[in-house]
Symmetry: D4
Subunit: 226 residues, 8 copies
Amino acid sequence: GYATVDHHRALRQGVPEVIFGEGKSGEQIAGIAEEMVRAGTNVLVTRIDAHKAAIVGHRVPSFRYAPLARTGSVELAPPPKRPCAPVAVVTAGTSDNEVAEEAAETLSALGLEPLRIYDIGVAGIHRLLHRVEDLRRASAAIVCAGMEGALPSVVGGMVATPVIAVPTAVGYGTALSGFTALFAMLTSCASGVSVVNIGNGFGAAMAVHRMMPKASQAIEPPKTAG
Amino acid sequence: GYATVDHHRALRQGVPEVIFGEGKSGEQIAGIAEEMVRAGTNVLVTRIDAHKAAIVGHRVPSFRYAPLARTGSVELAPPPKRPCAPVAVVTAGTSDNEVAEEAAETLSALGLEPLRIYDIGVAGIHRLLHRVEDLRRASAAIVCAGMEGALPSVVGGMVATPVIAVPTAVGYGTALSGFTALFAMLTSCASGVSVVNIGNGFGAAMAVHRMMPKASQAIEPPKTAG
Amino acid sequence: GYATVDHHRALRQGVPEVIFGEGKSGEQIAGIAEEMVRAGTNVLVTRIDAHKAAIVGHRVPSFRYAPLARTGSVELAPPPKRPCAPVAVVTAGTSDNEVAEEAAETLSALGLEPLRIYDIGVAGIHRLLHRVEDLRRASAAIVCAGMEGALPSVVGGMVATPVIAVPTAVGYGTALSGFTALFAMLTSCASGVSVVNIGNGFGAAMAVHRMMPKASQAIEPPKTAG
Amino acid sequence: GYATVDHHRALRQGVPEVIFGEGKSGEQIAGIAEEMVRAGTNVLVTRIDAHKAAIVGHRVPSFRYAPLARTGSVELAPPPKRPCAPVAVVTAGTSDNEVAEEAAETLSALGLEPLRIYDIGVAGIHRLLHRVEDLRRASAAIVCAGMEGALPSVVGGMVATPVIAVPTAVGYGTALSGFTALFAMLTSCASGVSVVNIGNGFGAAMAVHRMMPKASQAIEPPKTAG
Amino acid sequence: GYATVDHHRALRQGVPEVIFGEGKSGEQIAGIAEEMVRAGTNVLVTRIDAHKAAIVGHRVPSFRYAPLARTGSVELAPPPKRPCAPVAVVTAGTSDNEVAEEAAETLSALGLEPLRIYDIGVAGIHRLLHRVEDLRRASAAIVCAGMEGALPSVVGGMVATPVIAVPTAVGYGTALSGFTALFAMLTSCASGVSVVNIGNGFGAAMAVHRMMPKASQAIEPPKTAG
Amino acid sequence: GYATVDHHRALRQGVPEVIFGEGKSGEQIAGIAEEMVRAGTNVLVTRIDAHKAAIVGHRVPSFRYAPLARTGSVELAPPPKRPCAPVAVVTAGTSDNEVAEEAAETLSALGLEPLRIYDIGVAGIHRLLHRVEDLRRASAAIVCAGMEGALPSVVGGMVATPVIAVPTAVGYGTALSGFTALFAMLTSCASGVSVVNIGNGFGAAMAVHRMMPKASQAIEPPKTAG
Amino acid sequence: GYATVDHHRALRQGVPEVIFGEGKSGEQIAGIAEEMVRAGTNVLVTRIDAHKAAIVGHRVPSFRYAPLARTGSVELAPPPKRPCAPVAVVTAGTSDNEVAEEAAETLSALGLEPLRIYDIGVAGIHRLLHRVEDLRRASAAIVCAGMEGALPSVVGGMVATPVIAVPTAVGYGTALSGFTALFAMLTSCASGVSVVNIGNGFGAAMAVHRMMPKASQAIEPPKTAG
Amino acid sequence: GYATVDHHRALRQGVPEVIFGEGKSGEQIAGIAEEMVRAGTNVLVTRIDAHKAAIVGHRVPSFRYAPLARTGSVELAPPPKRPCAPVAVVTAGTSDNEVAEEAAETLSALGLEPLRIYDIGVAGIHRLLHRVEDLRRASAAIVCAGMEGALPSVVGGMVATPVIAVPTAVGYGTALSGFTALFAMLTSCASGVSVVNIGNGFGAAMAVHRMMPKASQAIEPPKTAG
Ligand SMILES: Nc1ncnc2c1ncn2[C@@H]1O[C@H](COP(=O)(O)O)[C@@H](O)[C@H]1O
Ligand SMILES: Nc1ncnc2c1ncn2[C@@H]1O[C@H](COP(=O)(O)O)[C@@H](O)[C@H]1O
Ligand SMILES: Nc1ncnc2c1ncn2[C@@H]1O[C@H](COP(=O)(O)O)[C@@H](O)[C@H]1O
Ligand SMILES: Nc1ncnc2c1ncn2[C@@H]1O[C@H](COP(=O)(O)O)[C@@H](O)[C@H]1O
Ligand SMILES: [Mg+2]
Ligand SMILES: [Mg+2]
Ligand SMILES: [Mg+2]
Ligand SMILES: [Mg+2]
Ligand SMILES: [Mg+2]
Ligand SMILES: [Mg+2]
Ligand SMILES: [Mg+2]
Ligand SMILES: [Mg+2]
């Protein structure tokens, strides 16, 4: 067949395989989603446009589409809430919000609570200074920025929270479709900032998922040595 | 003067400013280290060659140089041990070990325990299969690879542990001084792998530092919502 | 005229000139195909879209179009079967299947039998482990992968079969339209993997064609020294 | 001959031709400098290493070499002081100071007063906040930064002063020998920041020279319309 | 909300936040514009296409669209005229005029007077020689060129006026969508030419804004040292 | 330890692990070679310079160094001869011979016979025409070329032999350290040419190894379907 | 106005300004063409699509459009014939013919006679060998090739005729939109091949124009020293 | 052997094979030179450093080395003088002179007379205006420039002479080791400028060689049609 679904993934990683919508037809996505629903797992599709989403929606009951995030999902059962503080999802400018929404939707599907802090980039840095306490209290911060991608450096220099930087393709010319922000974030003078692919809000949320305690760990002590 | 030391950093981030050794003279590094020692903080210098290290060693008592890692340090007091399992430091091949040592030295300076797992790359994948349990039990895995940089994808697909991928410059021609490994890691089909700059073992360790409970948090419950 | 058909090619290479469909009009393709049919040779066209295929179909009888592979063909006589085991055609993900189909269609036109093994990429490596025997028994393996392009490395490390790696443009951002997979495959730590252009399923099949015994060689001993 | 000195330049631009030291031998530089001294103009050489400077020093009396800036000069007469406030020369880190010194030396040769503000990059942004008043009062700010090159964005967002951004080659891997900082500065979200070539402290000072009133204009009103 | 308008900007920089139209919907632009109009500030939007402009025009009274420049504006009160000579806006060829118009529209919004000098590129250099006096008398020259981007070098070598070079995407093949012009301008042999992003007429005008005396400074003496 | 030798490889691939000499010290190489000799396998090291080779030679008896090829080897027993015609090793120019020698040395270590055909590039194409019969009779052709890398296209168009193209770094400027030859070979209009990394003579020989009958297969019929 | 037509060009260069159609509206092109017709000169427009050509055709009488070449022209008087042999215009494959037609149309407009030799690329080199005499007798050869761009090397190695190489964007993946052919041609092992921009058939014809005797020089002796 | 000398080349191209010195040892160069001397042809070696030249000088009598040009030659008989005006060899700056000397030495070896015009770049354009008559009278102009590479555009716009542009690696940062000049020259707005590889003075001279009448053609009429 055209696909070999990885049904073990929820066991290995605490979350089922997520369907990458690009380069697949609406029919193929629907077919994979149906196979997962039959197996009793929730479904998440990323990078799916409105046209393909309509095709899936016709075949898969209770498929919900989030147009700004360009994600689709089937929630057979709500994900168990995770025992930790909200995860900040930050943008430098309004044009970065789409990528941030992909992260926020994925966090929700993982039982993590997103806290949206949008349009506080470094051209008017007082906007960031007003939100420092929110960032300090967050479990982690997913920071989305295009153009020169400076925001994660400044956030990472201010707080000790885990920072996942997400470059976006916002800008033109030397913004290089997000590569300048990507390279800037990787060579950030603030240390301990880690980075995901351009526009990969999904991957940033998954990285936070790996760090956070599992639902069942709520009452367990932190994983310690020995 | 030639430098404005950031003396607040230990407060903000739980670790003092780390000195970037490239592009500074041995004298400048020694001067900054002396100022930090006077202020009573431990010192860590990265990317410092043997020649500069000798200069610093003459001026700064108890300066210790790690030649493979190319780091130098002054430990006025040992860092408090962190309440978590060891951090795996993995390499694909022997040629990646230098970058891994920079990560391991930094982890030690942060009170985290490195677990070295070297030379287990995908050309002979049974070597990796033998170490899966170690990876599963680790607090996090720092995975260093050059050439095609495939190891973090395979590790990330096998275990739910946080994975920080570190590309190295090992290889020639299309290895592109580490850029191929970097781009491969960023576009990894294993989700939730986050990435740092080429050869940045230090940054990978700092990213783990942000995720792990602080020494003082050992007896506190995990940071929860609300 | 607009074309100088290379009528000697079947003699030199055991297969007639294959028409490259890009940058030619439907009319030009039809004209060249007609000239080849008149000369009594089978026709294969690659990288031809549905629109041009319809134009050719109107002028050239028994022209068959394969939409997923984007190839068209006229089979005046079936190609003689080649005396060797099937050729594995492997993909990392469903989105790589189009390129794989171009390879599979070309193999069939050359008298070689394709064995399709789809969607077994390294994010869930047990899927690959289940198919190792098939890969070991194959005459050769054409391995198609986008994103980080790690699958040929892992396959090449496991079996001694000839491996032709085909990068695809699947992925976004640092996938670089297939260049990351291409470079990764070229700098693979598994040795003896050779590589063709991004999306060039046709070329991979032709490379296998060069290695395999000719139909008429079935009863001849292998070409030996002296 | 090997050179055609542009003796009109002081007339056209208020400053004589400046000798670019790279790719010229010490003898060629000395020859050009001698010709200029004979013509009665001050001499400035940029990007000249210590070895060539020694050669020039032997032939040209009162040639002064500034090793950190890598400039050399002959001052037949001091340049007339310009009627404006000092020009801030700012660095993100100590490793950027060499480029800044090239700018500062050039400013002095043009009759402009440099105000050095070094090592105040965005990883510890309070260091910048302490110097905002100095930046506001400056005639212009030349801001030198490597790595992610974020400092000019933050400075440009805080003050209305003319900002000339100078990328430096500080950093490794994705710092791309200064190209990441260059591209970041060009796509800065702070508007009206203009940029010069990587490491071009000289050019930044010359750009300020074009903007500032000439010595002879001190008592003239600003150049107005009509 | 989706935006955090920077209402302090007019205070800090003498001009309100300018809305970057790319990557925002017409509705989002209209919402931000309305908020600014309510706050009593003039509005300027850049890189806005005719379709979005129509949406904004329906919601925001007296919104004016300049189609060649692709800017839109609301002028609650005319900007105070600045006490300086006109600013030359120069193009190498007719195809560069769009970028020049963005600069000219922005200058007007800032109270500066543009002087358009179009299509005088170096392939017919007598066209430039005829306009040297205009360039010499201008407060500054914004020079827009695509292809090999040579015009700012020639202008910068002829006059002492501040020169802001704006690369455009005019040309094909090795013009590299404006990167060749950008790199040529940055490595110009004429010194003191500073550069903005490809197609960034807006940024060039803002850089001139930073250099020119403010309206209220007309009768003040130039800002001097001490 | 610093290495995890893959002792299974000879079983899986018919040839033991080959040591990549770059990025390893002479001592590390010697240590790995000693471990392999103890295990009774032949040793091959590639990309090892004369200095490291001397270190290994002191510790490992009967270590032989080939300076042009930059390979070293220990032959405990001669490799069994393979039942096939010689493998042509071709260069475009004398400057490509080093890479060709790496291929030839590796072929010999694999029991395959190299046939050297050097300096017959396309600037004087009659030199190639004189050797067509040799190329036609070869089991495979490894074709090494730098600069524009045209030779594999011409060879591939003339003969039906398997062609492995090896780009070299010969040339300057737009030769791009071998990338132009690499890209040219990948986009060759001669079909079925497959390619390895720049300068990777070793990999080309290994690719031929995968295609050729094993020594033990000499009297077996070709591997057929079913 | 939007244009400053260079009316001196025919005097300086023996041919009037040629209008670059990209980035100009149909109306602008028509306006410039009308101004040139009024001045009594022939008109040539390059890179003009069918839509703009229709607009110009409505306003400018006897405007002729060549759709394959994408050129338009007004011939008030036929150009005087040049006293030299025809100029060969060669393509590697049918897909390169469009660029060749731009060259051929421009040659005709310059009074030079094109000799079309199409689809004789190196994958079937006997096609080229059949045309060597034509190439030897030509005044110059304009050789257009995409993919690996090898044809000019082979032609340049066979004949002493001036060779102008024109890379085309034919191919995919590593063909890099013509950059691989461009770089290959520039680093050609055949010496004395000079190169123009990707797809610049116009420029190749103009380069030939510069080399060839002018119409009025027919009876003059060649331009000799002294 | 290591080389297959192309002894037919003087017949095909009017000049013997020229030895490319890079990537060959001094011994290999001497061996090839000796073989050519034995065959009675003059020898030219390019890109040969002083060290290799000394080795060749010891073995080959009357070998002459030109250190600035980095060429070496053996002149058994002076080349016959060509019946045409001198060839201008122009540089933008003194740092470009080395490349120009390679062109000049090659011209001399071909029987063509170089006319050196050095250091007249566009930063002081009056220097060029003074030499326009020399350029107009030359048979061809070889124009060498680094940095932004603007000089060939300006020369090509002023005179109708054939212009061969040679980019040089002069400059830093965005000069990109000559690629910016190369791309600028290829996308020059002056039409009919053709280009050779970065630093390829030799190739430029060879391109002129192809255009110029042969010595034996002095009394023949120009090669005409039919
Ligand atoms: N055409 C333009 N090019 C570059 N930057 C711009 C342009 N127009 C507006 N900007 C800047 O981009 C920032 C807008 O970011 P955002 O919050 O996404 O609207 C503003 O602070 C402006 O200074
Ligand atoms: N937006 C995304 N970006 C990157 N990777 C993704 C994204 N969405 C899903 N994936 C991963 O891509 C893989 C899907 O590959 P495929 O078999 O082609 O569907 C899954 O294993 C996911 O972990
Ligand atoms: N197809 C072409 N490719 C490159 N340059 C061209 C082309 N057609 C015309 N030109 C040149 O481009 C210049 C036109 O610039 P513009 O003033 O924008 O029309 C002219 O001087 C022509 O020499
Ligand atoms: N999909 C393909 N990818 C690469 N090369 C191809 C492809 N299809 C056909 N070709 C080759 O391209 C050449 C066609 O060139 P042309 O004369 O333009 O048709 C043929 O000789 C084929 O060997
Ligand atoms: Mg905003
Ligand atoms: Mg190993
Ligand atoms: Mg899948
Ligand atoms: Mg510092
Ligand atoms: Mg024009
Ligand atoms: Mg040779
Ligand atoms: Mg063809
Ligand atoms: Mg000079």
